[in-house]
Amino acid sequence: MEASDHEFTHQENFHGDDDDDDEQEEEGEDSEFMSPEARIRTKRAKMESLIRRLSTERVPVRVHDIVIKGNTKTKRSLIESEVEPIFRDATTFQQLIRAASVANAQLERLDVFDSVNITLDAGPPELPGTANVVVEVSEAKNPLAGDLGIYTKPEARSWSLEGSLKLKNLFGYGDLWDGSVACGWDQTSEISTGMPLPKFKALATPLSARISLLSQDWLNFSSYKEQVLGLSLGLLSTRNHDISYNLSWRTSTDPSQMSSDTVRRQLGHSLFSALKYAFKVDRRDSPMRPTRGHAFVSTTQLGGLFPDMRSLRLIRQELDLRYAIPLGFYRAALNFGISGGVIFPWGSAYSNTPSYLPERFFMGGNSSPVFSLRGPTSVLGFKARGMGPAGPRRFVGDNSNDGNSDNSGMDHIGGDLALTAFADLSLDLPLRVLREAGVHGHVFVCTGSLNTLTENAYREFSFQKFQDSFRSSAGFGVIVPTKLFRMEPLKLRFLSVPRVSIEADDRDQLVACHKKLESFVRKCGLNRKRSCS
C-alpha cells in the first residue's frame, strides 16, 4: 500500500483511501447530484471494497517509527519494550492491525493506564510502504485504588473476604504495589504485598514478585497453626502455562498442646523452596456453571531446591479433569470430573520420611468440585478436612477436648495419595423469576479417597486397601449465585457408611469398642482401624 495522508486508527472504523484521487474528485462532483442515501451507499461500497482488498491481499508494510505520547510519569523504555517486539515482526497490513490489537492488550494488562490508544499513521513520504505507530496512553489520574470482595486464592484454603489497596506506577516502571488483607471462613488470614519487577529487555515475559505473610489456624481440625512468610516469583505466565518459584519460611506450632503424635513430629520451622509448573486448558463456557466444554489442569511442584539443601524436599503432582455435556432442556448440563494427586518426599531415606503435613491432601468442605480446579480437595457432604486418615489427640485427664469445638478428639492428618470424582446434574428451576436470577438446582454424587504412602506405608498398600478407602456422598441442592459469591442455602446429602475393622482379644471389650466406634464413625465419616487390648 502506498503511503497516504490518511490515518488508520486502531479503534476507529477507518475510511480508507484510494490511490485514485480522481475517483474521489469524480465522486465529489457526482455527489452533488446524488441523494444522501445514494452517497452513503456508494461510500459504503467503496469501504467494503477496500476492506476486502486489505483483508484478502497481502499489502506489504513495515513500521518505521513508534511515537509515544501521553506518558508524563511512565518511562518511555517500559512502553517501548512492551510494543517494539510486537510490531517488529509485522510485515503486512493485516499483521500490523493484529499487532496493534496485541500491543493494546499488553499495555492495558500493565494496569497502570486509564486508556491506551494506538493509531497507525503513514510513514514519511520519502519512504513508501512504511507506517508510523502512535501510542497514546492516558496515565491513571488516581494512583491509589481499593478493592473489597470475596475471593478464592491459591494460598487460601477456601473462600475469603479480602480487602486490598493498590498503588499504581509509583516509580514509572509499571510497578504495581498492592497490599491486601484477607480473612477466610476457616480462620485463614493473609497479609501480602506484590509488585512486578522491572522488565528486562532480554526477557519478553515480565517477572512479578509477591511477599506474603499467611497465617492459617487449623487447631480445630488438625491441632496446629501455620505461619508462612514467603516470597513468590512469577517466572512465566501465559494463557496455558504458569511457572513460579516460591521461597517461604513455614512455622507450625501447637498452642493448644493437644496434637496427636503425627502432628507433634511435624511442628517446627521449615524452609520451603519450590518450583511450580501449572498447565491449564479451560474450554468450558462458564467457570461458575459450565454447561459445555472441558477443562484440564496439571500442577507439578518440586521442593528442596536451592538455596539450602536442608529445605523441604518433596514432589507434588495434581491433576484435574472436568467435562460438561449439555442436555438441551432447562439449560441442564451433566458435569463430570476426576481429580488426583500424590505427594512424596525425595532424598536420602525418603521412604522413612513422612510427607510434610501442611502440603498433604485434605478433603472435605463446601467448595463445589464443579467449578473449583484446585486438585483433589472438594468432596461435598464432608466437613472441612473431614475425610481421610486421622490420629488420636493427646490425652489430658478426663477432659480431652479443651477449647476444641471438634469433640472427636482426632487430628485429621491428610494423605499422600488422593483421588476424587464426581457427577453433577444442574438444571434451571421451573419458575421464570428463579431462572432469571440464575437460581438453579443440582443433583450430585461425589466420591473420594485418601491414603498414606510415606513412612514405608506404600509397602502395605494394596488395591483392596485403596478400594476400602473410598467414601461417597450424594445429594441435591439449590444454588443461588450472587455477584460476590455462590450460595447453596439448601443442600441435602447422604454419606456412605464406612466399613470398619476391629481387632480385639476380649469379646466384651470388643463389643464396647465397636459400639463406641460406630457412633464415632457415624458422626465423622472416618475410616479407622483400631485395636482394643
Binding site: 517486539p85 492495558e108 515475559t205 506450632t253 513430629r265 517446627g268
Partner: protein, 321 residues
C-alpha cells in the same frame, strides 16, 4: 477404645540433638535424660531438630500421654505428679534439698543461659540448636533468642557488666555451697539419686563439655574438683553405659538430618562433612546450570509469546476472517 492412661507404652523422650559427646546437648533436655536414666526405666530417645525455640521440649510421651516441659513445673515435675517416675518422694520434704534444687534451677540455670547466649561466642549455640536448620532461619532465630535472653535476664547496655558480675558471682556461690554439701558423696542426699542430682549433673556435664574452654563459668566450676569428679563418675555409670535396658537413640523422622547413636564419632563425621560439602558444591553447580537453562528457555520462548496473548474485545469492528 485405647485409653492413654490405661497402659503405659514404652516411654519416649524427645530432646534436642546430641553433641559434644553428650546424649543430648541442650541444657534443658540433659537433666530429663539423666533423670530417666537414674530411674532405670527403659525409654527411647528421639531428636527434634526443627524446634530450637520451643519451650515444649524436652517432652516425654507414651501413647496418647505427653508430658511437656512448659507444664506444671517442667517435664520431671509432671512425670512425678502423674505417677510415672518419682525419685524425690523422700527427699522433697527436706528443706536443704529444696533450697539446693532452687539454687540449681535458678542461679545455675541463669548462668548457663547467659554463658550460652551472651557470654561466649555463638558456636556452641549454633551447633546445638541451628546446625540442622536452613541458614537464614537459623540466623534469625539465633538473634531472636539472644534478644529474648537479654530481656529475660534484664540485661541492657547500661547494666551489662554489673549483671554479668552478679550472674557469675551467684554461680560461684552456688558451686561453693554445693561442693561443701556434697563432699565426697556419690549423691547429694541419702546416697541415692534424686531430681536434684539430675539437674545438677546435667548442668555440670553441659558446662564442662559444651561450653568453650575460655568460658568463665567453666573455669569457676573446674575450681571445685569434687564436683567435677562427681559428674565424671555419674556420667560413666549412667550416661556412657550402653546397657540394653537403657535408651535407644532414634532419629526424629521429620528431621532433615539423621543422627545415629548417642556419641557421634568425630572421624566419620569429618569425612561425611567433606563428602557432604563436595555433594553440595556439585548440587549448586547443577542447579545453577538448570536455572540458566530455564532463563535461556524463557528468553527464547518470549519471542514467540505474542501468539498466546489474549486479545480483548476488539472495538474496531474489523473482521479479517
Amino acid at each position: 477404645m485405647e485409653d492413654g492412661r490405661g497402659e503405659r507404652e514404652r516411654l519416649t523422650l524427645v530432646a534436642r540433638k546430641p553433641c559434644f559427646g553428650l546424649p543430648t546437648s541442650c541444657p534443658k533436655c540433659l537433666p530429663v535424660y539423666i533423670y530417666l536414666k537414674f530411674s532405670k526405666i527403659p525409654f527411647s530417645l528421639e531428636f527434634n531438630l526443627i524446634r530450637p525455640d520451643s519451650d515444649q521440649l524436652p517432652f516425654v510421651e507414651s501413647g496418647d500421654y505427653v508430658a511437656y516441659n512448659n507444664e506444671k513445673g517442667g517435664t520431671i515435675q509432671k512425670l512425678k505428679e502423674d505417677g510415672i517416675v518419682d525419685l524425690d518422694s523422700e527427699a522433697s520434704g527436706i528443706p536443704e534439698w529444696v533450697s539446693m534444687k532452687a539454687m540449681v534451677e535458678s542461679w545455675l540455670a541463669e548462668a548457663v543461659m547467659y554463658e550460652l547466649w551472651v557470654g561466649s561466642d555463638h558456636k556452641s549455640a549454633d551447633k546445638i540448636y541451628y546446625s540442622d536448620l536452613p541458614w537464614p532461619i537459623g540466623k534469625i532465630l539465633y538473634f531472636k533468642q539472644v534478644h529474648s535472653v537479654k530481656q529475660l535476664l534484664g540485661i541492657t547496655s547500661d547494666n551489662a557488666e554489673r549483671r554479668e558480675e552478679e550472674i557469675y558471682g551467684r554461680a560461684a556461690q552456688a558451686y561453693g555451697a554445693l561442693s561443701s554439701w556434697l563432699g565426697e558423696q556419690s549423691f547429694f542426699f541419702e546416697n541415692r539419686p534424686t531430681s536434684l542430682d539430675a539437674a545438677f549433673l546435667g548442668h555440670v556435664l553441659f558446662t564442662l563439655h559444651a561450653l568453650p574452654e575460655t568460658s568463665v563459668l567453666r573455669s569457676k566450676l573446674l575450681s571445685h574438683a569434687n564436683l567435677v569428679n562427681y559428674a565424671e563418675n555419674l556420667k560413666m555409670e549412667y550416661v556412657d553405659a550402653n546397657s540394653s535396658s537403657s535408651s535407644v537413640p532414634q532419629t526424629d523422622p521429620s528431621s532433615s538430618a539423621s543422627r545415629r547413636g548417642s556419641k557421634p564419632k568425630s572421624k566419620p563425621k569429618r569425612e561425611k562433612t567433606e563428602e557432604e560439602k563436595k555433594f553440595r558444591r556439585r548440587a549448586k553447580y547443577f542447579l545453577a546450570t538448570q536455572l540458566v537453562a530455564v532463563l535461556v528457555f524463557l528468553s527464547l520462548l518470549g519471542g514467540s509469546n505474542d501468539a498466546d496473548v489474549e486479545l480483548g474485545d476488539s472495538d474496531d469492528g474489523l473482521d479479517y476472517e
